[in-house]
């Protein structure tokens, strides 16, 4: 069931029930348990939705059970059995009857474990198309509906719904197991999980206009991953990176809604608790002594934040981090970000660095914005204006566009 439907279905004045259902932790945990053996996520979702609907109808009258999750799990398993029996042979039905008997025998709270880690790995299995991995994770672990996810990923709800249905069918039919990868596969598979979480975050981050951004959901997923796999420095690094960015959210727009670049932000408006947590996580990750992409990106954000807070110039350290990042995880984005740092000390070298990226960055807004900044520093006002206009034409964010166009007046 999607969150909106769940919320609208909540009867008023039933706080314990609302609390039980609102607990994100229950949805993903129950779904993972229901799907992990059958691999049939769609069937598990239907069964869980039905169980939740039954709970809404039954609990207000009979009271919330001592262990709501165990109650929901039992009800959902029964629903799965019933759904199977509807389309099954006589032989199957007798198995289902046996299962129902088993369920009756299992009176009292069921002890159960946590299969959500396996669910995260299934959603990001290399046999699942890359563009549906993050949406699949958001839906199965957090219970978000396709329309909400579609809004964040800028596709139509129908298209997103189809992608998700196809991916779930594939998991069921292709034989993708619910299991934690073995040691040899783990680093690559974990990287895919991190990538998908970051994709969910990025879609919420890029467009501040939509209140439907999924940044808090992405942070929640990263927390979950860190809880389930506590000794993975890159997972900790990703959480630190996202917290650094999220901490600045309140300061990214002024009272009038205009874009405020980082260097001009008022750190008083940053979320201090998030910032401190990010810093602590980064230090903890560093203890493992295995730097990676996300730790480096978090460290870069940490230095940026410190410069705004204290005015300390970390230009050399910043450039070193960017160099390392480019070596570990080369990308156009990382190369442009490095050029932006280089522009502070050596704008001519920065211009050369950008020129080397021309072919790959024709439609990349940050490349044009950085180029405008570099040309302005070099005293080329006309060139800077051309680049700023090109950057403005390449952003979907009205506030950023307004900011870039305002620099044309300089």
């Amino acid at each position: 069931m999607n969150e909106a439907a769940r919320r609208s279905a909540e009867p008023p004045g039933c706080a314990p029930l609302a609390a039980a259902l609102a607990a994100r932790t229950s949805y993903g945990r129950l779904l993972a348990l229901l799907a992990s053996r059958s691999r049939d996520i769609a069937a598990a979702e239907d069964a869980l939705a039905e169980a939740l609907a039954t709970a809404l109808a039954v609990w207000p009258a009979r009271g919330v059970p001592d262990n709501p999750d165990a109650w929901l799990l039992t009800a959902a398993r029964r629903n799965i059995g019933r759904a199977r029996a509807r389309g099954a042979t006589a032989a199957r039905e007798s198995e289902t009857m046996q299962m129902l008997q088993d369920e009756r025998d299992a009176a009292g709270p069921l002890p159960f474990g946590d299969d959500r880690l396996k669910l995260l790995f299934v959603c990001t299995h290399p046999a699942i198309a890359a563009d549906v991995q993050a949406p699949l994770m958001l839906q199965t672990v957090l219970g978000l509906d396709a329309a909400r996810i579609a809004a964040s990923f800028l596709v139509s709800p129908a298209a997103m719904g189809q992608k998700l249905v196809r991916a779930k069918r594939r998991i069921r039919d292709a034989g993708i197991a619910f299991q934690v990868p073995d040691a040899a596969q783990l680093p690559a598979r974990l990287a895919a999980v991190l990538q998908a979480i970051y994709a969910a975050f990025g879609n919420g981050w890029d467009d501040l206009k939509t209140r439907d951004g999924l940044t808090s959901e992405a942070i929640w997923l990263a927390r979950l991953l860190c809880e389930l796999q506590p000794e993975q420095p890159e997972a900790i690094g990703l959480l630190a990176l996202m917290l650094h960015c999220e901490a600045r959210r309140p300061a990214r727009r002024d009272a009038a809604g205009a874009f405020v670049p980082l260097s001009a932000q008022d750190p008083q408006r940053w979320d201090a608790a998030m910032l401190h947590e990010a810093e602590a996580l980064l230090r903890f990750a560093a203890c493992f002594g295995t730097p990676g992409r996300f730790q480096l990106e978090a460290a870069i954000q940490s230095l940026h934040a410190e410069r705004v807070l204290t005015g300390a110039d970390h230009g050399t350290a910043l450039l070193a981090l960017h160099d390392l990042l480019l070596r570990i995880a080369p990308s156009a984005g990382a190369a442009v970000a490095r050029a932006a740092v280089l522009a502070e000390t050596d704008p001519a070298a920065a211009l050369d660095a950008l020129a080397a990226l021309t072919d790959r960055c024709a439609d990349y807004q940050p490349w044009w914005a950085t180029r405008a900044h570099v040309l302005r520093r070099l005293g080329d006002g006309d060139g800077a204006r051309v680049a700023a206009r090109a950057a403005a034409d390449r952003t979907g964010d009205a506030a950023v566009r307004h900011y870039l166009l305002a620099t044309l007046q300089d």
């Binding site: 992990s36 053996r37 199957r92 046996q98 299962m99 159960f112 474990g113 993708i176 197991a177």
Partner: protein, 130 residues
């Protein structure tokens, strides 16, 4: 502990591994490198046999030996050669029985043609009564 039920999916699935080779790779089997080529395939098949996962399979004669038939307007059209000329050709196949896709992919990755070609892994459709 999650209790297991008799009706749950069985623990093993059958997958077909289709071995696709480039023409150059396939030609090694009839060149001076033939002993190395066949030795690698032999070791690979033996490993799967020893693992107890083999259901069946065959190596195929080259595409040049293929005959393709289709029926149009009730008439047989028989052609010399494979259905389509492609960059990679089907060199053989096996059916294995393993717990999941990752295990099937693990075996696909050991195939001598995984580097100079590719392996297509497909679940075998379960029979309705299974």
């Amino acid at each position: 502990m999650v209790r297991r039920h008799g009706h749950e999916r069985s623990d093993r699935m059958q997958f077909t591994l289709l071995y696709l080779e480039t023409a150059a790779e396939a030609a090694r089997g009839e060149s001076a490198e033939a002993p190395a080529y066949w030795g690698a395939w032999g070791a690979y098949m033996a490993a799967m046999g020893a693992a107890g996962i083999m259901v069946g399979g065959n190596a195929l004669m080259p595409p040049a030996t293929a005959t393709t038939l289709r029926i149009a307007d009730g008439k047989w059209q028989v052609e010399d050669g494979p259905f389509a000329e492609t960059k990679e050709q089907l060199g053989g196949y096996v059916v294995i029985e393993v717990p999941d896709l990752d295990t099937a992919l693990h075996w696909a990755a050991q195939a001598p043609c995984a580097t100079a070609g590719s392996v297509e892994v497909r679940p075998v459709m379960p029979s309705p009564g299974a």
